[in-house]
């Protein structure tokens, strides 16, 4: 017999390392969907919330930060070790959208997730209008993720932009493009985006007094190149974001932070790191 989401006894919960509930699964569905460029996702639960990391070939990494405010209930049992698990993100997303209302305005789906600890599956309970779905997703061994340590000392350039115009710029990039060159200058034009592909080259300049720029800090001119196939993994997160902060450090490591406001007005962040392409010459 299915258990009603709202009637699970508290005593039962103490055996779980992590339990959270939310009234509307949409709040995290779109967030997780936007970082779904690799099937394997790693979840880290902390007192401040959840961090979900997806990594591709140690070259680029996306982290979604979901603060506890988003959840109606968030219980993390105090343990010595950190609570983390990996799972197949595609499977999780199919489960979260089992009633198909992620893209419609029908009644919200409530979610409860429980995790008993290392070696145990993730138990999901989804409920919508008396229909209940129980899922048990097997967890995978947590693999070590690349550490893109982005200390503020190394940051040389920082720019905060509105997402809307940036989406148009990035969508205009030819899909056959191989390399995206990202230039930041202290003088006009402050941002120069250059793409090289089979179809030719495209240059996009953004000037200092453009409306889309909210903050600009440039300590020294920088040029770094990124693989378009890595770079475009961030576009889904950009599509649902309101603002973007782009930072580069002296090694050319790119860090994009997307500020995302969900339907309930909560703010979440997705962080995207991408390693530069090392020039041959």
């Amino acid at each position: 017999m299915p258990v009603q989401v709202s009637t699970v006894v508290d005593a039962e919960e103490s055996q779980y390392q992590l339990v959270f509930r939310m009234d509307n699964v949409k709040s995290i569905y779109h967030l997780l969907k936007s970082i779904n460029f690799q099937p394997r996702a790693t979840f880290f639960a902390t007192d401040s919330g959840l961090k979900v990391s997806v990594e591709s070939a140690k070259c680029c990494q996306a982290n979604a930060f979901i603060q506890t405010e988003i959840f109606q209930e968030y219980t993390l049992q105090p343990t010595d070790e950190s609570v983390s698990f990996s799972l197949d993100l595609n499977v999780l997303l199919e489960c979260l959208d089992i009633f198909g209302d992620a893209n419609s305005n029908s009644s919200p789906t409530a979610l409860m997730l429980r995790y008993q600890g290392y070696g145990h599956p993730i138990k999901l309970l989804l409920e919508e209008e008396d229909v209940v779905t129980e899922c048990s997703i097997r967890t995978l061994e947590v693999e070590e993720l690349a550490n893109f340590d982005f200390t503020s000392d190394d940051v040389i350039n920082k720019i905060i932009l509105k997402s809307e115009p940036l989406k148009e710029i990035f969508n205009a990039i030819e899909p056959s493009t191989d390399i995206v060159e990202f230039n930041l200058y202290s003088n006009e034009p402050i941002v120069k985006l250059r793409t090289v592909g089979y179809m030719g080259e495209v240059e996009i300049d953004i000037s200092k007094d453009s409306d889309m720029i909210e903050l600009f800090q440039c300590e020294s001119d920088s040029t770094s190149k990124y693989k378009y196939c890595h770079f475009k993994k961030a576009l889904k997160a950009l599509a649902i974001s309101q603002k973007v902060s782009i930072r580069t450090d002296d090694g050319g490591l790119l860090c994009m932070q997307f500020m995302i406001k969900n339907d309930c007005g909560h703010i979440c962040f997705i962080e995207f790191h991408c390693l530069p392409v090392v020039d041959d010459d």
Partner: protein, 281 residues
């Protein structure tokens, strides 16, 4: 052999159009139409030579306002033919134009180079002269010796038959479960519970519907809840529900323990039957 039928009711034309488009979407090897004084029966085999798995009978009285039918012989007063539902559907799409629906649609068995089912559609026009649109749908007449092959089977009385009115939700859930696994378990209980479940290496997934009207169940003397379940190819039921163009009001799922699933899609008084054989794991 002779056949002429005249449809004047827009509802009947729509019903036939919806049925033809549904059958066309199912991408069957061939569709058989059997015409008799009382019924027009569309039936479909999974592959050429196999038994009929899908059929829908329409009453001539509701479909046609005028009907002339002379069958193969006086004793066997029927006409049996193969035709393409996609061509029927596209012929009937002309029964609507900017000015409204057709005044009448006439169906006629004709011999134009090859046997055809001719659709003569009288459309409204701005001018005084009515406009007539004619579609010839080529058919193959089926000799009487082969008629028994195209008759739909007698379906055994199901152990449990349950009515599902939330068609959209069931369709979405089945569609999501199909993405997770190719097999689907359907379980129905005499107390009105319906469970759609699947298992993969990634985990187990089950959706529970409660308080569904039970149409038919076997009597158990001890008053216990009777449960019937079977595994089916998830693709088949997902495709059936995806092809549905009938504006189905409700589904009836008839379960025969570990053998057969009998799905009936109902819209008004039209019932589309579909048989799905159980698979063993």
């Amino acid at each position: 052999m002779k056949f002429r039928g005249k449809m004047t009711d827009a509802g009947a034309v729509r019903q036939l159009t919806n049925l033809a488009s549904t059958l066309a979407k199912m991408k069957a090897a061939s569709v058989t139409l059997r015409l008799s004084k009382d019924l027009s029966i569309f039936s479909m085999c999974e592959e050429a030579g196999s038994g009929v798995i899908c059929w829908c009978a329409l009453e001539q009285g509701q479909l046609f306002t005028e009907l002339t039918l002379e069958g193969a012989t006086a004793e066997h007063n029927q006409i049996c033919m193969h035709l393409s539902p996609a061509l029927v559907a596209s012929a009937l799409t002309s029964s609507k134009n900017a000015l409204g629906v057709a005044n009448s649609v006439k169906l006629k068995l004709t011999n134009k180079k090859s046997p055809c089912l001719t659709f003569q559609i009288d459309l409204p026009s701005i001018g005084l002269n009515p406009r007539t649109c004619i579609h010839d749908v080529p058919i193959t007449l089926i000799p009487r010796s082969e008629w028994p092959l195209h008759e739909h089977p007698e379906v055994p009385i199901p152990n449990i038959s349950i009515r599902v009115s939330s068609v959209k939700k069931v369709r979405t859930v089945i569609d999501r479960l199909r993405k997770l696994s190719s097999k689907l378990n359907i379980r129905a209980s005499s107390n009105g519970d319906l469970c759609l479940r699947t298992e993969t290496d990634a985990g187990t997934f089950a959706t529970f519907f409660q308080h569904m009207p039970v149409i038919q169940s076997e009597d158990t003397n001890d008053g216990n809840v009777q449960t019937v379940s079977l595994w089916i190819d998830a693709k088949k039921i997902a495709q059936l529900l995806a092809s549905d163009q009938l504006n189905t009001e409700y589904l009836t799922l008839g379960l025969i323990d570990d053998r057969l699933l009998h799905v009936i899609l109902t819209q008004n008084d039209m019932h589309l039957h579909y048989l799905i054989a159980a698979i063993s794991l």
